[in-house]
Symmetry: C2
DNA sequence: TGGAGCATGTAATGAGTTACATGATTGG
DNA sequence: CCAATCATGTAACTCATTACATGCTCCA
């Protein structure tokens, strides 16, 4: 039984590579596009994972173009690893909310600063919500499948919830 | 202008230490109790941060008891660092949802496995919600301040939202 | 044609998790 | 007083972020 486990980020890359070979840089863009804010990947991560996966034979690097720009291609081993991941148990979900940490020590903040803090957060989340809503209508108009909209719907729900909670926070003061 | 910035985890420890000296192990417990699931800290983190802060003079280590068990105490420098953190800008909030990543590749999953996945998640989040609700009623009965309830309220909102979203997911299939 | 700005990759650092080691405690 | 269990700390590892380096492109 081969130990071909991959972490979630690597798996995401394998999934994206299933659509055809791509370079690291392209994968960063594809991930951002396809996975959005709920599973971010940075360039450094991508290159690290690609290199590691190449070592393990899950992908193969093509010939280097200009600046070491080389396309990676998924191997059958890689496809197997992706499939295994796809059927593996989900890891626990972590939600780290800086504002909650701050509020835990709210008694050490004067009321004015606290109000300012809440107002800032409200602006941030309202903007995100607006952005998601916009993307949603664009997607619906563009004929996206419901399945692809799920991410956006999650985002909308989440941001709405945060905003409502902020109301509560303000009510308590 | 001294560069006494601390990260959020270190700041949390400073905040907790403000209540009096404590050992690493005690701080782990206090953090879990006081910050809950929305800012987790592990033992390793705590000891690392304490050591680093001692190096920087933000805390001082007391005499070692049994197994190197030593209480840490916050210094005035540490108090200043905490205060600076308290008034600093909030970092961005990250929400990484493994289920969303999985669903992004849902077209590679057969319907049965997908349904199972969703059912599992539903169970997990329902249980968490139940747990938060229980804590909430206990807290209210125990006369906790509204402020301290905010974390719990966030949790309740969040879990409720996730469960509703799971309904949507199921509807799409 | 040169330099401003973008594309692409890498290195250094920081944060978080898992696995481990071992000293205390306590019920039988 | 021995074994099981809990308490406490440490080390090794994986993952993520920030800062950096440098090659390309394209327009003035």
């Amino acid at each position: 039984m081969p130990e071909h486990e991959v972490n979630a980020t690597a798996a995401a890359l394998l999934g994206l590579l299933d659509g055809g070979p791509a370079t690291g840089y392209a994968l960063v863009g594809a991930a951002q596009e396809f996975l959005g804010d709920f599973w971010t990947v940075t360039r450094s991560q991508v290159y690290r994972e690609l290199a590691a996966m190449a070592d393990r034979g899950l992908v193969t690097a093509g010939a280097a173009g200009p600046r070491d720009r080389r396309p990676y291609e998924v191997t059958s081993l890689g496809r197997a690893a992706f499939d295994a991941w796809l059927h593996s148990d989900l890891g626990p979900e972590v939600v780290r909310v800086p504002l909650l940490l701050r509020l835990a020590f709210a008694d050490r903040l004067d009321g004015e600063r606290l109000a300012e803090l809440v107002a800032d957060q409200r602006a941030v989340h309202a903007e995100r919500l607006r952005c998601y809503r916009e993307l949603e209508t664009a997607a619906v108009a563009g004929g996206t499948t419901d399945r692809q909209l799920l991410t956006l719907r999650f985002g909308i729900r989440y941001e709405t919830g945060v905003l409502e909670w902020l109301d509560e926070v303000e009510a308590v003061r």
